[in-house]
């Protein structure tokens, strides 16, 4: 039995157990998560609305955020994007694509002990600025980069 569970069991029953379990992430993910999915943010049609829905109406440009992405994507269907935050206390990292039909692509919660560094692959409708939004100690920071998209594939 691991340390976390032992602590949980020691803490005993009732509401406090529930809170502890939730904090430790031991509840079935979907019960907690269904409420988490930020519908308003994910359905926002433009960058500004998406930022607003994420609570990032005001945000500072930061040199503490690093984005790894191609200058020119070989294919808009699969654009690799990596995001690293060097800002202390990073709580979440979001990827937004300005010119996509819905701007917010993904939002990652970074628990303590997890490195503020994620990579994924996104679809891009056209050449666009891609923004990485970081929440750290309750404040928002952003960096951006234009990624050109070439469409029209060949045989390969």
């Amino acid at each position: 039995m691991n340390q976390t569970r032992r602590n949980v069991l020691k803490a005993g029953g009732g509401a406090s157990l529930y809170a502890l379990l939730a904090a430790a992430g031991m509840l079935r993910p979907d019960t907690a998560l269904a409420a988490d999915w930020n519908q308003k943010a994910f359905e926002a049609k433009n960058l500004k609305d998406a930022f607003d829905a994420l609570g990032a109406g005001s945000r500072a440009d930061s040199i503490g955020i690093f984005m790894t992405a191609p200058e020119i994507a070989e294919n808009g269907a699969v654009v690799p994007i990596g995001a690293v935050s060097k800002i202390p206390g990073t709580e979440s990292i979001a990827i937004l694509i300005a010119k996509n039909p819905t701007a917010l692509a993904a939002n990652f919660d970074i628990p303590a002990g997890t490195e503020p560094s994620v990579s994924t692959r996104v679809k891009m409708a056209e050449t666009s600025e891609v923004h990485v939004l970081v929440k750290a100690q309750g404040k928002f920071y952003v960096t951006k980069k234009e990624i050109k998209v070439t469409i029209g594939g060949c045989g390969g």
Binding site: T127, G152, G155
Partner: protein
Amino acid sequence: MSSIKLRAVLALSGLVLACAAHAQQKEAAAPKKTAAPVKKAASAPKDAVTADFDKFREVMEDASPAELFEAKGEELWKTRRGPKNASLEQCDLGLGPGILKGAYVRMPRYFADAGEVMDVERRIVYCMVTLQGYKAEDLAKQPFSSESRTPDPVSLVTYVAGQSRGMKIAIPQKHAKEREAYNVGREIFNFRAGAWDFSCASCHGEDGKRIRTQELPNLTSKKDAIRAFQGWPGYRMTGGLMHTLQWRMNDCFRQQRFPEPGYASETIADLLTYMGVNANGQVYKGPGIKR
């Protein structure tokens, strides 16, 4: 032979997210819309662009969606299936029943039990028929990946190919039938016919040529021959579909303005023998990613 495909942007008009990506069925007659973004790429320094593509291609190949199909193929290989309720573990890919390591880079090859030269997919179909009791005609009905399904042989080929990752291509030419397959394959490669007088060699017989911005490997040269092999089976970013060399050959013949070659036919096996043997000695990197 890969002529630029102008994706079906028109057919999908009204589509806001024009991820050409997904619009993969038809070629459309409206080049403007699709050609425009290409210009941006082409106007940037070519070498830098290619280097950037290569860098991110490498990143993606490190965790390629092709692995999902390898996993699926492995499951299919080991599961008892078909009218005879058998797995494919007794399938002999040339190195003995069930031996997969290195099998892919040694095919096409001659199989005494079938009396024929077979490429990997032709052989897997043969095993599915003889061991599992499937019907070859059924497997040939819809042999290529679509949005709604990935045919079993595609996943199986991807699995088998993954078992030769990092190995040198060593397609045998010992048996008389193997040498004949090479020679006949060379003739198929050079055979001009059809509405536009094309052969494979029309596009793949000279160094340094392009169709639009797509570079064309010279498959008659030792240097480029590997490019026929490398990256296949390949996960195509456009549409996100897994395709094998059977599909590649089929679509080449389409663009060659030929009628359709039979799936897993001897024609394809011989053509792949010719192209494969030319690539002997080079290292196969495993299932890849295609644009």
